[in-house]
């Protein structure tokens, strides 16, 4: 197992390296000068030259790249041009609000999705199955921001139960923190819930038709034991695979949600940074996300081996 993890870590490092090269290259290929954008049309040649030198943008590209990577090894991320503060500090603040939305959404979507998937598969062909499956299909077809707008209209504007938008850090007011997060979490959960439900359902249906489930039934086990002890663990294998992709998709989905609910998160930060060509912010945020996705996938691979003993051996 240790050897396997070691090997996977090596592969992950290569992936992260390639991501840094691509994002660095792409950002510098884009037309437009971040200093020019930051200073505006009234800036003089001297001012631009001064700031370009300040941020080290006058250096050749390979040097800039090596400086960035070298800084990462020392735990430094450089300065943001737009916000004029340390990228690391900026990122830490933003990560907290993003995680507040994505983590609960990820867990909720997974747990509820698996439960609904099990329910629909064990009620296959009956009313409950048709009803829930139809809802899941609608959920997949509906864009998240639309559901978000409907929720804002009902609970924010009409009923006034929840704030329309915004974000309050937990340290300032725990109750406001939760109130602000309810709708974004629901919207983000709903989008992923549907696909989780459907995946679990089809995976469960496949497993339930297997010979070993018949064997389990032939032992006289209760239906509950058959479903949860024998079937679910086998059905989880493809769901775990899907989780790896879901981590990336969730982080992507937050860009829309954060903009919709005006949450100062990583997604929103990324969006403004790209518009302003804020090199260091875009590069470092991409790096952090890449590392996060890689780590999640590594964890999932380990989890895989835990669920399925046949994978452990290979």
């Amino acid at each position: 197992m240790g050897k396997y993890v070691f090997k996977r870590l090596g592969q992950s490092l290569i992936v992260v390296f390639i991501v840094t090269v691509i994002v660095f290259g792409l950002m510098h290929l884009l037309p437009g000068d971040p200093i020019q954008i930051y200073l505006g049309d009234t800036a003089t040649e001297e001012q631009i030259a001064y700031y370009t030198k300040q941020f080290g943008l006058d250096q050749p590209l390979p040097v800039q790249y090596i400086r960035w990577i070298g800084g990462l090894f020392k735990g430094e991320m450089g300065r943001s041009i737009t916000y004029s503060i340390d990228v690391k500090e900026l990122l830490l603040r933003r990560v907290a609000s993003t995680l507040s939305v994505t983590f609960p959404a990820f867990v909720l979507a997974l747990l509820i999705g698996i439960c609904l998937g099990v329910i629909t598969s064990t009620h296959r062909g009956r009313t409950l199955d048709s009803l829930l499956t139809s809802i899941a299909n609608v959920g997949i077809a509906t864009p998240a921001f639309w559901i978000g707008m409907i929720l804002v209209y009902i609970f924010g504007l009409k009923l006034k139960w929840l704030p329309v938008q915004g974000y309050v850090p937990f340290s300032e007011s725990p109750s406001d923190y939760i109130k602000c997060l309810v709708m974004p979490v629901i919207v983000l959960t709903l989008g992923h819930l549907s696909s989780n439900t459907r995946q679990t359902r089809s995976s469960m249906l496949e497993v339930i038709s297997q010979d070993y489930i018949r064997t389990a039934r032939s032992k006289g086990l209760s239906e509950k034991t058959v479903v949860y002890k024998h079937a679910l663990r086998n059905a989880l294998i493809p769901i775990v695979t899907m989780m790896g992709g879901a981590v990336g998709a969730l982080l992507g989905g937050t860009v829309v949600i954060e903009n919709l609910f005006n949450i100062p998160g990583v997604g929103a930060l990324m969006l403004t940074a790209i518009i302003n060509k804020d090199y260091m912010v875009v590069q470092n945020v991409t790096f952090v996300i890449a590392v996060a996705v890689v780590i999640c996938n590594l964890l999932i691979d380990i989890l895989y081996g835990y669920i399925d003993p046949r994978i452990r051996v290979e």
Binding site: G125, T215, S218, T225, R233, N234, V313
Partner: protein, 677 residues
């Protein structure tokens, strides 16, 4: 006396889009304690569904038990719901089931210990520690070595035979009164089959458990069962003691089954008489004899009558048949489906010249490298085929037998150059093809083709039947115009007994037997001279098996084909082959013409294979002396140092364990590799 289980008038139906499929149609049977009773029939006869209905293990919906009573220990099981506590106590607790497919009937993510203990804890109310102790005991009883530590192993760490032993241990774990073995040994090798069946028989006798043997194999019935129920189209068509059924079958279907199966003691020129036609569609079936359309004894009266009921055979106790007429083996048939007599002319190999050899294989070796580690370093070779020499003459059928994993298929694939050889020489039609490149090999490929085992997997599901047969002709550009090819497709269809009108159909519209005919038509479309049949009939029902065997023989006579016939069914190989080679762990251990090999087997492995095969005759089975070889084929990675068979051979000496015997000719053409002979 009250029976252990008595089923009365059981009806099970499956709802389908086209109507209702009557899978079990008024079946009644009983079992007494300690009895072994067989349910025989082909696929779709309802024999398994009948047993699953008894313990309500059928998928519902679409399945439904609509009528009947199942009396077991004074309770009517059908009065309980399929998941009710009362029924679950019996299912698993009092009735254990062993399923067909050992590779898939164990949960892959649970240790076998957990799978064994859960039912013990549930039904025998034991603690975890007691249950583990019992599980160890059970594994020991079914012959799993080192049971204590094996409890923590997962199913994929066991071979097929071992897995089936575990399933048996599971079925027996709660001391059931009734054991149902549903085609429990069909997927296994003959030797393993014999081991498993003997094991079950011993356990059942010891504990006075009743056992249901669901099987399509008449030989198994002859050896193990005391009574037989013959099923056809969801009904019991004949019932009696094994002796009576085999000596004096009274239902045309039973007679048909017996005529279709080759046995180890047959005359060589015996013609297998297949049961032609198809099982009537059981969806919305009419109230008439279901076998009528295939019955050679059917008369006009049969057509005007309703479904025949079981009635006692005059003069015999406890023997019932469901037929309007009273037929026996001697009754004159009304309709003759297949007349041509079969003659067997032994070939005179002494007169054959070198030029009569179509294929020469000399010292063929096929090794597969094993890689390990980060740098994929080669650490060993799996010697799948290790030095095999044989010749095949034009127009003969060369049989190749051995247990799974002995390298039969690798030999076939290497001869066809589907994988490369490590050493040796293959000469086909006088040309050394061992190292021909792909372009040059193509010229020879049209002269050799292959018939595969699984007619379901070896046809492209989206290709039309006509195109499937036409494709090799196009591929090899055999110089026919499009019209000529179409004409030839029609001819080929007719030749293999398919209606040329079916050429627009896709594979799933054909039955299993028809598909295998299609595979054969494809194989002979380029007029090859040499065909490899790799387990070509083992996936087929017995009646269809007979059709395909007859077809292969007919084609051989008409087209002068040469067959390399690979099979694990020794009776079929004996029936069809001129000469037979026996393989074990990549080597040839014995080789002779069919007669000497079967009447005078010399190698202990050949002997044990033949002893393991049951014959479809209960009288022979009763008096037959046999010793079942123990253990399984070792992995080619860990092949024994001396004779490969020395680990399982009852006569092995120290010399056998250290020195590898060579294949030597003993009598005229009969070669064997053994120190003891």
């Amino acid at each position: 006396m009250e029976h252990l289980i008595e089923v009365k008038n059981l009806h099970t139906e499956f709802k389908q889009s086209k109507g209702i499929l009557k899978a079990v149609n008024g079946v009644s049977y009983y079992l007494d304690p300690g009895e072994i009773v067989a349910f025989v029939g082909e696929s779709g006869s309802g024999k398994s569904v009948t047993q699953y209905s008894g313990v309500q293990l059928i998928a519902s919906p679409p399945g439904k038990i609509t009528e009947g009573e199942i009396w077991f220990e004074g309770q009517n099981l059908l009065s309980y719901g399929s998941n009710s506590e009362e029924l679950r106590k019996i299912r698993g607790g009092k009735i254990g089931i062993v399923f067909q497919e050992p590779m898939t009937s164990l949960n892959p993510v649970m240790t076998i210990g957990n799978q064994l203990t859960e039912s013990v804890m549930l039904h025998l109310h034991m603690t975890k520690a007691q249950a583990r102790e019992r599980a160890t005991e059970l594994l020991k009883k079914v012959g799993i070595p080192d049971p204590e530590s094996r409890l923590n192993a997962y199913p994929h760490q066991f071979s097929g035979g071992m897995r089936q032993r575990i399933v048996i241990a599971m079925a027996l774990s709660c001391n059931p009164k009734l054991l149902i073995a549903d085609e429990a040994t069909t997927a296994l090798d003959v030797t393993t089959q014999a081991q498993i069946l003997d094991l079950m028989q011993d356990i059942v006798r010891e504990s006075n458990t009743a056992m249901v043997l669901v099987t399509h194999n008449l030989s198994i019935v002859a050896r193990y069962a005391q009574r037989v129920y013959v099923m056809y189209a969801g009904e019991i068509v004949e019932h009696g003691t094994t002796e009576e059924i085999f000596k004096n079958p009274h239902h045309p279907y039973t007679i048909g089954l017996m005529n279709a199966v080759p046995g180890l003691n047959d005359q060589k020129d015996r013609k297998l008489i297949p049961i032609t036609g198809f099982v009537t569609n059981l969806v919305n079936r009419k109230d008439e004899c279901a076998f009528m359309n295939r019955c050679p004894y059917a008369t006009k009266e049969c057509a005007s009558c309703t479904t025949p009921q079981l009635k006692a055979v005059p003069g015999e106790e406890d023997h019932f048949a469901a037929c309007h007429r009273t037929v026996t083996k001697e009754t004159k048939v009304e309709k003759v489906f297949d007349v041509a007599d079969r003659t067997y002319v032994a070939k005179d190999y002494g007169k054959m010249a070198e030029t009569d050899k179509i294929l020469k294989v000399e010292d063929l070796k096929v090794y597969f490298p094993v890689y390990k580690g980060l740098m994929r370093k080669k650490i060993a070779d799996v010697k799948a085929v290790d030095g095999i020499t044989f010749d095949i003459y034009k127009g003969e059928t060369f049989g190749l037998v051995g247990e799974s994993g002995c390298g039969k298929s690798t030999v076939a694939r290497t001869i066809l150059r589907l994988n490369n050889s490590t050493g040796g020489k293959i000469t086909f039609n006088g040309t050394d093809i061992t190292h021909l490149d792909d372009v040059k090999m193509r010229e020879h490929r049209r002269n050799m083709s292959m018939i595969f085992q699984d007619p379901y997997g070896s046809l492209d599901p989206r290709q039309r039947a006509g195109d499937i047969v036409k494709e090799p002709m196009k591929n090899f550009k055999i110089g026919l115009s499009e019209e000529e090819m179409d004409k030839r497709v029609d001819e080929l269809f007719a030749l293999v007994g398919l209606d040329p009108a079916y050429r627009e159909r896709v594979p799933h519209e054909f039955s299993g037997g028809q598909r295998q005919r299609l595979v054969i038509a494809r194989a002979i479309s380029t007029n090859p001279s040499f065909i490899v049949c790799d387990e070509a009939i083992s996936a087929l029902d017995v009646s269809i098996q007979a059709q395909v065997i007859n077809l292969l023989e007919e084609l051989q006579q008409k087209l002068g084909l040469t067959y390399l016939f690979i099979a694990h069914d020794l009776s079929v190989v004996r029936h069809i082959s001129d000469r037979v080679a026996v393989m074990y762990l990549g080597q040839m251990v014995e080789f002779a013409d069919w007669d000497s090999l079967y009447s005078n087997p010399l190698h202990p492995y050949t002997k044990s294979l033949l002893e393991a095969v049951p014959v479809p005759d209960p009288f022979t089975e009763k008096t037959r002396e046999r010793q079942i070889v123990q253990g399984e084929v070792p992995s080619p990675m860990q092949r024994p140092a001396g004779c490969a068979f020395s680990t399982r051979c009852p006569h092995a000496t120290d010399r056998c364990r250290t020195q590898m015997p060579v294949l030597k000719e003993r009598t005229d053409g009969h070669k064997v590799a053994c120190h003891m002979i």
